[in-house]
């Protein structure tokens, strides 16, 4: 009688079973770090294990610079160089190097059609490059590492010290989390996205409602979602305080992974037992849900888009949460043939998404054309303004503006200016609102 999370952790601990609340040592299959936390992690690794120490398994370490890429900030460039040196001395193969960051100033050499190993936002990259494998344990120095749970794996974020410990030992102590179950049944209406589901769930339990717990998602509506949409759901588990989000792997997961070069023999499929114990169970009929927004300054501050009377200064579509191909497909559906009336920023999460802006079409028009014709500004793939970043970051709010965004957090100052306001919504609701200059329900377009 275990949940899927308990089964994955038991397997990784070499145990028959585990119980929520107990501390177990687990072996780690993937350790991911990026440019913001990598240099600190490497520093601790060398201090604790020695200047010439080797990582536990160079093929299980994935390094994805993504946060501060398109900036003139010298320290950010220096940090990427620290990662390069480490990758070289350790013989790490999985390194998505922004090789065009090689001279002072804002890098201008990124070309989506080039052979650059650069990919973009780490959580999307981990999926696209086949690092998310059902049944495995992934640890990353980023709180949104919980995105990987969309593949039926245990995936969570840690700090530099724990990451350094994993780098040296390949293992980590984890407290087995009790689980909350969120069941979404029914047929998804075309005005709803996965983002509406997860904002609903977070609003239900509150921004601290799943602290130290696993958030498990199931139901016919979740099963109907594609992998990118499932990633949106698990991505925001942390916004309810969740340790991990998780969705049982199925044929869609296998198909996605096999396409990305993952060997089926590496996958292990766990499912929650019918009599598994949950802290609480929450059921939703998606046909009755409506486009949902999280108001400042908490992802748990839930409201319905149609009930808000809120003017906006800008709109932003991007990040690991809302900058995937499906996110831009939905946004393009509503922006096609129309004009935005506020500054609207489009930031593909990765190079793969950037390329899809050209290959994905509505009628004869590419998504890129649709966005350009609508008056949007399109930036290169990275975390960009989701977390503010250096002041020259694309889309950053350097003034106290109000923004509707498809990203994941709306804490004070999150997207730049300390007095700015961020409303979180689905890419569809963001796009619709950009057309009116105020927050609206996409059904009103």
């Amino acid at each position: 009688m275990m949940t899927i999370t308990e089964k994955v952790l038991a397997n990784a601990a070499g145990r028959q079973s585990v119980t929520p609340g107990e501390n177990v040592w687990v072996k780690v299959d993937v350790l991911m770090t990026h440019d913001v936390c990598g240099p600190g992690t490497i520093g601790i690794f060398k201090k604790e294990f020695g200047e010439n120490a080797k990582v536990f398994d160079a093929d299980k370490v994935v390094i994805i610079p993504d946060h501060y890429i398109f900036t003139a900030d010298e320290k950010s460039h220096r940090n990427i160089e620290i990662l390069r040196q480490f990758v070289k001395e350790q013989g790490i193969r999985h390194f998505y190097d922004p090789d065009f960051v090689n001279k002072p100033g804002i890098p201008d050499g990124y070309d989506k059609n080039s052979a650059t190993p650069y990919s973009g936002v780490c959580h999307s990259t981990l999926a696209e490059k086949g690092h998310c494998v059902p049944g495995q344990v992934m640890i990353g120095t980023d709180s949104h590492t919980c995105t990987g749970g969309a593949f039926g794996m245990f995936s969570t974020g840690v700090g530099n010290t724990e990451a350094a410990f994993v780098l040296g030992t390949g293992k980590l102590w984890l407290k087995v989390p009790p689980s909350l179950l969120f069941t979404f049944d029914g047929e998804m209406p075309d005005y709803l996205m996965a983002k509406d589901l997860i904002l609903t769930a977070i609003g239900e339990v509150g921004a601290d409602g799943a602290t130290y717990c696993a958030m498990e998602f199931n139901g016919s509506a979740v099963k109907s979602l594609n992998i990118e949409e499932r990633m949106t759901i698990c991505n925001m588990a942390i916004e309810a305080g969740g340790k991990n989000g998780i969705i049982q792997a199925d044929e869609k997961t296998v198909e996605y992974d096999v396409k990305r070069g993952v060997d089926k023999s590496a996958m292990t499929f766990f499912a929650s037992d019918a009599d598994a114990k949950y802290v609480s169970k929450h059921q939703f009929d998606v046909s009755k849900l409506e486009p949902t927004v999280a108001c400042p300054h908490s992802p748990g501050n839930r409201a319905l888009a149609r009930k808000l009377d809120q003017k906006i200064d800008r709109a932003y579509i991007g990040s690991c949460t809302g900058g995937k191909i499906v996110d831009f497909q939905y946004a393009a559906r509503i922006l096609n043939g129309r004009k935005v009336v506020v500054d609207t920023f489009i930031v593909p999460a990765t190079k793969e998404v950037d390329l899809a802006l050209d290959s994905e079409k509505i009628g004869s028009k590419s998504l890129r054309q649709i966005f350009a014709d609508a008056g949007c500004r399109i930036g290169p793939p990275s975390c960009a303004a989701c977390l503010g970043g250096p002041v020259d970051t694309f889309g950053r709010m350097n003034e106290p503006l109000t923004c509707i965004s498809s990203t994941n957090r709306n804490f004070p100052g999150r997207m730049g200016h300390p007095n700015s306001q961020v409303f979180l919504a689905s890419p569809l609701t963001v796009a619709a609102s950009a057309l009116k200059g105020k927050i609206i329900d996409p059904r009103d377009i």
Binding site: P39, G159, N160, T211, F411, P412
Partner: protein
């Protein structure tokens, strides 16, 4: 580890997220480089909205930002409410507080990653209480935490409050972090 921690209190409310503790624009400093590590002390809690900075009055800077060389706070114990340290996994958050001189945080409960980072990195002692201490204690009050008696005394008002035992992380805190703990237990 000392069984008593004392100092001046800096009081904050609920949901103090890691962007408030250390805003993202300062994350390009590398904490493994000593000179840059100090900067985290300078910018600690600089993202807290002014009205909430140092309750009940607010508008109290934690570190004197006007002095570019200031890296220490006069406040060494932070009092918070619910969900302290929510948001990003950045270890720079407890590190920034520790660099500024903070020895302990007392809150109702913590976001998971902040709590683990505080413990595993050996930065500060994250204590919990069932009480809404941020409504009782005022910024600037002299407080003393007694880890053996599980209590906090506001020496300015003379009132004493119960705090929770550290529980299963006490050994790691005692060892001053994950690495020392693991060495003691011969796990590395």
């Amino acid at each position: 580890m000392d069984t008593k921690i004392s100092g001046k209190a800096f009081v904050l409310g609920d949901d103090i997220d890691t962007d408030q503790i250390i805003p993202a624009e300062y994350l390009s400093y590398n904490p493994s480089i000593e000179e840059e590590r100090k900067m985290f002390g300078h910018y600690a809690l600089s993202g807290v909205p002014k009205a909430q900075s140092g309750l009940p009055g607010g508008n109290t800077p934690f570190v004197n930002l006007a002095d570019p060389h200031a890296t220490q706070s006069e406040y060494t114990i932070v009092i918070g409410g619910k969900n302290f340290g929510c948001g990003s996994s950045r270890e720079h958050a407890p590190l920034a507080l520790a660099q500024a001189g903070v020895k302990a945080v007392v809150a109702q409960f913590y976001a998971r990653i902040f709590f683990r980072n505080s413990v595993n990195g050996g930065y500060l002692v994250p204590l919990e209480t069932d009480l809404e201490l941020y409504k009782e204690i005022r910024t600037g009050d002299q407080v003393e935490i007694d880890l053996e008696k599980h209590q906090l005394t506001d020496q300015t008002t003379g009132k004493t409050y119960a705090i929770k035992p550290l529980g299963d992380v006490a050994d790691i805190i005692e060892a001053d972090g994950l690495f020392e703990y693991a060495r003691k237990k011969q796990l590395t």
